[in-house]
């Protein structure tokens, strides 16, 4: 398992910029606390609590914690602890052996889990940083699929979203999202290694209510 982690390339994080998100909010105004590839190891050595607030928000003093995913340590605002808890819980997917459904399902491998965890972390972090009210993403259901891929699922009264991270195409993730209507939907794939602001706009439908307002 450690060999596989060591062999993985460092995730390349970049921002695909557009003027506004789905709700018309200006997305240029703040720089998200997302690691660029060259920052990974240097940032991993840092543990400066509060730098995020001072640099990007400046209003309230919020505590930050760290999580290690694969070989990388990530700083996160405690406000998104729900996401981090779910990521930690999902580590148990790696305990599931081949045929975990008794019908020949392929086991989830460590590379797929790392990609899914970092993808989720990045968007949760991004939404928190890039919203007026420090939006906190609702935790998804993180589940294995019989082809060895991982599903991230959100379902609320207003909207639903299914993201699938496949082991054979870790650089892209496919998704479908709608507002329970054939007219209001989005479908396709996005990079797993960058933030797509249009896609992030859809995630705004899965925000915890009354947090940070």
């Amino acid at each position: 398992m450690n060999e596989k982690i060591a062999d993985m390339h460092i995730p390349q994080i970049r921002i695909d910029r557009k003027k506004t998100d789905l709700r018309g909010n200006n997305m240029y105004s703040k720089t998200p606390n997302i690691f660029k590839s060259e920052d990974y190891h240097s940032r991993a050595k840092q543990s400066k609590i509060g730098i995020f607030d001072e640099k990007y928000n400046g209003k309230t003093k919020t505590n930050y914690s760290h999580i290690k995913i694969g070989n990388w340590e990530f700083e996160y605002p405690n406000a998104i602890e729900n996401i981090i808890t779910e990521i930690k819980r999902s580590f148990s997917l790696l305990d599931m052996k081949d045929s975990w459904d008794d019908e020949g399902a392929v086991a989830v491998n460590i590379d797929t889990w790392i990609k899914a965890a970092i993808f989720l972390y990045n968007y949760a972090q991004y939404l928190y940083v890039n919203s007026k009210h420090q939006n906190v993403l609702i935790e998804p259901d993180i589940a294995p699929v019989n082809d060895g891929s991982i599903d991230l699922t959100w379902r609320t009264e207003k909207a639903r979203l299914l993201i699938n991270i496949k082991p054979k195409s870790l650089d892209r993730v496919s998704y479908y999202c709608d507002l329970y209507s054939d007219k209001d939907f989005s479908k396709g794939n996005v990079s797993s290694e960058s933030i797509n602001e249009g896609f992030a706009g859809w995630l705004n439908f899965f925000i915890k209510p009354n947090v940070g307002n």
Binding site: S99, G104, V145, T153, L162, N164, Y176, F185, K187
Partner: protein, 145 residues
């Protein structure tokens, strides 16, 4: 040998859901529950209500071998949902249903004969269709979570 029959659109098909394909927080089936099985197979197995009940469908699971083994499945690891054929044909891409009774003489251990067996045929790899399966199912034997 059993005759292959046409399944009326209003009829129900019973589909098994493994416990690992149930969201423990909501007790709802996950979208992953509605993929073809085995993973590279062309269809999703079901049992037609004309020749089965939710309980008989579940009991039959206990006569099947776990994939790639000669150990029997535990029926208690599975729960049963139903779909009506007309709802399956309405989702996009539409799924077709076909009565596909399974019969061997002598009966094969681990592959029980099943007059009710029906196949839900169609691509289920797409996120949209897996998510929309969740809209049209009904519990027949529900987990206690």
């Amino acid at each position: 040998m059993w005759e292959i029959e046409d399944i009326p659109p209003s009829n129900k098909l019973y589909v098994r859901v493994h416990k690992n394909n149930i969201n423990p927080k909501t007790a709802e089936p996950r979208p992953a529950a509605f993929k073809n099985t085995p993973e590279k197979g062309p269809d999703l197995s079901s049992d037609w209500e004309k020749h089965s009940t939710p309980q008989s469908s579940r009991d039959l699971i206990g006569k099947q071998f776990k994939y790639g083994t000669e150990a029997f499945k535990n029926p208690n690891d599975f729960f049963i949902v139903s779909f009506t054929c007309e709802k399956l044909s309405c989702i996009n891409p539409p799924q077709s249903v076909q009565h596909t009774p399974q019969y061997n003489n002598p009966e094969i251990v681990g592959e029980p004969n099943n007059r009710a067996h029906a196949s839900i045929i169609g691509d289920k790899s797409d996120e949209e269709i897996r998510l929309k399966f969740i809209d049209i199912y009904n519990w027949e034997i529900k987990p206690n979570i």
